[in-house]
């Protein structure tokens, strides 16, 4: 039996497919449920957010143009990669949040299955929320749902992994790209999840993950004119009004949700209706 010193992970941000440190140089402490020091994840700044939005915007046109089949394949691969690394996530969740192994394992199971569920939506959501419309005239009229662009999301404090997945997966299913602020108290699963993303053929910039404080980052998300929509499920209800006021400047579509259902996907899509005459 040796007293081997283990090599501890450095937790950085995930922007544009790479793992940069915060430009602010700041970190904060994450302690275990028992109060022991675990890590110093980055305390992201508004400039990190700015950079993440640039990456997300650049990634949007390619991700949006990818076939629904391709997006589904990638989401499924994310599930494959996560399944293969269950143990690591279970340990991390138990360490940081103090939950039992059984509970942590359940969160992993639900997380993988949730990703698989969203993977199956990419090529079906259009059949549900699109339509041909029988207008009263010689026109072919159809409604296609399309992605909006860049969506900012605030993940809930808990569950730290499943909550993050519910924050990002429905957004990217339809072709949006996302910048998400992870749980503040339990950010480590999010950053380990970024490693899963980095090995899943997900194009750079489609998902960007920041760790830091909601009160610092959320207002900058709300006021950013190149963010098209927000998912504020992770923000306490009393802060919603202020975010919506700030978001009104570019009429952001701002939503929050209680659970996973296809409405979460449709909420971040725009319906486009086209008229075309039918005639010789």
């Amino acid at each position: 039996m040796s007293n081997r010193i283990d090599v501890k992970k450095t937790y950085k941000l995930y922007i544009n497919g790479a793992f940069p440190r915060t430009e602010s140089g700041r970190t904060y402490e994450v302690k275990s449920a028992k109060g022991a020091f675990i890590a110093n994840p980055c305390l992201a700044s508004r400039k990190d957010l700015r950079d993440a939005v640039v990456a997300a915007r650049a990634a949007h046109s390619g991700w949006n143009r990818a076939t629904a089949y391709n997006r589904g394949q990638i989401l499924y691969r994310i599930a494959e990669m996560l399944e293969g690394r269950r143990a690591q996530f279970v340990d991390e969740i138990m360490q940081v949040t103090g939950v039992t192994k059984v509970k942590a394992e359940k969160e992993l199971t639900d997380s993988v299955d949730r990703l698989v569920w969203y993977a199956g939506w990419t090529d079906k959501i259009a059949s549900l929320s699109g339509s041909t419309n029988p207008v009263a005239g010689p026109f072919y009229n159809f409604t296609i749902p399309e992605s909006m662009g860049v969506v900012a999301a605030i993940a809930p404090e808990t569950p730290s992994l499943l909550g993050l997945i519910d924050a990002v997966a429905p957004i990217i299913t339809s072709g949006n790209t996302v910048v998400v602020l992870a749980s503040t108290k339990a950010p480590l699963s999010a950053m380990t999840f970024a490693e899963v993303l980095a090995t899943s053929d997900l194009p750079h910039g489609v998902i960007n993950i920041l760790t830091g404080k909601k009160e610092e980052i959320a207002p900058w998300m709300a006021s950013h004119m190149d963010i098209d929509a927000m998912d504020i499920s992770g923000l306490p209800a009393k802060q919603h009004a202020e975010i919506k006021v700030a978001g009104a400047e570019n009429l952001k579509r701002i939503h929050s949700f209680k659970s996973a259902d296809p409405g979460r996907i449709i909420a971040f899509m725009e319906a486009k209706t086209v008229w075309h005459p039918i005639g010789l």
């Binding site: 089949y69 698989v116 090529d123 079906k124 549900l128 005459p277 039918i278 005639g279 010789l280």
Partner: protein
């Protein structure tokens, strides 16, 4: 000086074909009792011996499917069923090359088609339906639609693995178990698929594969233990099946023959149109139910289009299906070759003008050169009967209305093509055409999300898309 392409054969090494096969029942490979040979139609080489399932084997398969349905599959959540289908899709993608080579050897279609079209679409079909398994409440059939039970599925020889995917994937996604019979001349990829089911650890009896001929199919159709029949094949057999199940409670979907009109208007994008005409009838040697077998040319551009079509046909490479540069492969069987030859002779006899480019056809195997008949009218046999080979009948029309009338003047209604750069006319024509699949400025395009099936005598029901699910589910009130 010319640019001759040296032979570019795909290697056979990736497949290993057993000298003899049995059936896949209850999750195991079981020996067959009687056998018949399956050959490579390009060379007439015997590839293997395939088992002929009789009453005992069909009974065993239905029993295994019922047991699996009652004890396992109908109790399993859609979420878990879906994950089995994802596994199957993944393994098919992994073993794609093996499937492609096997399909080409058994069917005679070019390796480029198996590799680039058949196999990827088959895997995509499983991928798509995997995602429906836990979303059935959104299929438009009510909040909790139910599966039908045990499905008996009989598929044709023209797209063996793809037709298997079109049948098995939605059936399983919807919660049914299946007994599937591949076509007698093309059973090998179905038997390889059985191996994939084992690798995916699919519960025993959910998929059962019994091989055989028309008699085996008949046993399945008439088996009292089967709740639903799905058949793809000729209209003639489809009617036999419809009559057989009429007095029973079985539901049935049929995907039958076609004699599609491919309509070319004078403002069509001409070079791409010629490609589309060629794809429409010579892709897969014309063994396609939805083939564009009647070319309807607007009379004022007929000469120009035919001239370009003939020039283009000179470049079609007919030959060894295992060569990566082959465009058109072998006719699937001696019987099919005889049918094509007979109908083509009828074309000559009825006064149509036959033309083929010069082709060096191999001496062994079953081959038919790509052929067009001009001067065809609606009254000719080659304008009415499905040839199911690389033979195109060319007719003309003067006005759009006349095109539609001629296109619709058939008991079939599977597919149609429209070539024009005018959007309103394309939409108008698609509105008028009595066909279940309409391609505009393209042809023979398939996708798991896109429903496929025919009007009139081309069949009942649709496969693929949200619409295709209703074949395997029942709403509350449907009897």
């Amino acid at each position: 000086m010319s640019f001759e392409y040296a032979p570019a054969p795909e290697s056979r090494a990736v497949v290993s074909i057993k000298p003899k096969y049995g059936h896949f029942i209850g999750g195991k490979f079981v020996a067959g009792s009687k056998h018949f040979p399956t050959i490579n139609p390009a060379t007439e080489e015997v590839l293997s011996q395939i088992a002929l399932a009789g009453k005992a084997e069909v009974d065993a398969a239905v029993k295994a499917a019922r047991k699996a349905y009652v004890s396992t599959w109908s109790k399993m959540s859609g979420k878990e069923r879906g994950k089995y289908l994802y596994r199957i899709a993944r393994i098919m993608q992994e073993r794609a090359r093996e499937f492609a080579v096997l399909e080409t050897l058994d069917n005679g279609k070019p390796i480029r088609e198996s590799r680039d079209t058949d196999i990827p679409l088959a895997a995509a079909h499983f991928f798509y339906h995997a995602g429906w398994a836990d979303k059935l409440e959104y299929a438009g059939l009510g909040t909790s639609p139910k599966p039908l039970g045990v499905a008996g599925q009989i598929i044709p020889w023209n797209f063996p693995l793809l037709m298997l995917a079109w049948k098995v994937a939605p059936a399983l996604a919807a919660g049914n178990t299946v007994v599937l019979k591949p076509a007698e001349s093309t059973s090998l990829t179905a038997l390889l698929f059985a191996q994939v089911c084992q690798q995916a650890e699919l519960p025993a009896g959910v998929v059962n594969i019994v091989t055989g001929d028309g008699s085996t199919g008949s046993l399945i159709v008439n088996h009292p233990g089967i709740d639903k029949i799905a058949f793809t094949g000729s209209t003639e057999v489809g009617k036999i099946i419809a009559r057989a199940v009429a007095p029973t409670k079985k539901s049935v979907t049929l995907e039958l023959g076609g004699k599609a009109a491919n309509i070319v208007f004078d403002d069509a994008p001409i070079d791409e149109t010629v490609e589309g005409i060629v794809n429409g009838i010579f892709f897969n040697q014309g063994h396609v139910c939805c083939a564009g077998s009647r070319l309807l040319l607007q009379e004022n551009v007929a000469e120009e289009v035919l001239h370009k079509l003939k020039n283009r046909m000179e470049k079609i490479r007919v030959g060894d299906p295992m060569d990566k540069n082959t465009d058109v492969g072998a006719i699937n069987s001696k019987e099919q070759l005889a049918k094509i030859t007979e109908l083509a002779a009828a074309g000559d006899a009825e006064g149509a003008e036959r033309w083929s480019p010069t082709c060096n056809l191999p001496t062994k195997g079953f081959w038919f050169a790509p052929t067009i008949f001009t001067g065809v009218t609606q009254a000719h046999r080659i304008a009415r009967e499905e040839i199911f080979g690389p033979v195109l009948s060319v007719l003309t029309f003067r006005t759009p209305q006349e095109a539609i009338e001629k296109a619709n003047n058939t008991p079939f209604g599977l597919s149609a093509g429209i070539w024009s750069e005018k959007g309103s006319r394309t939409l108008w024509a698609s509105q008028q055409l009595r066909a279940g699949v309409i391609w505009a400025n393209t042809f023979n395009k398939f996708d798991p999300t896109s429903p496929f099936g025919g009007y009139k005598e081309s069949g009942w029901g649709r496969e693929g898309g949200r619409h295709g699910l209703s074949a395997y589910l029942k709403g509350v009130s449907h009897e």
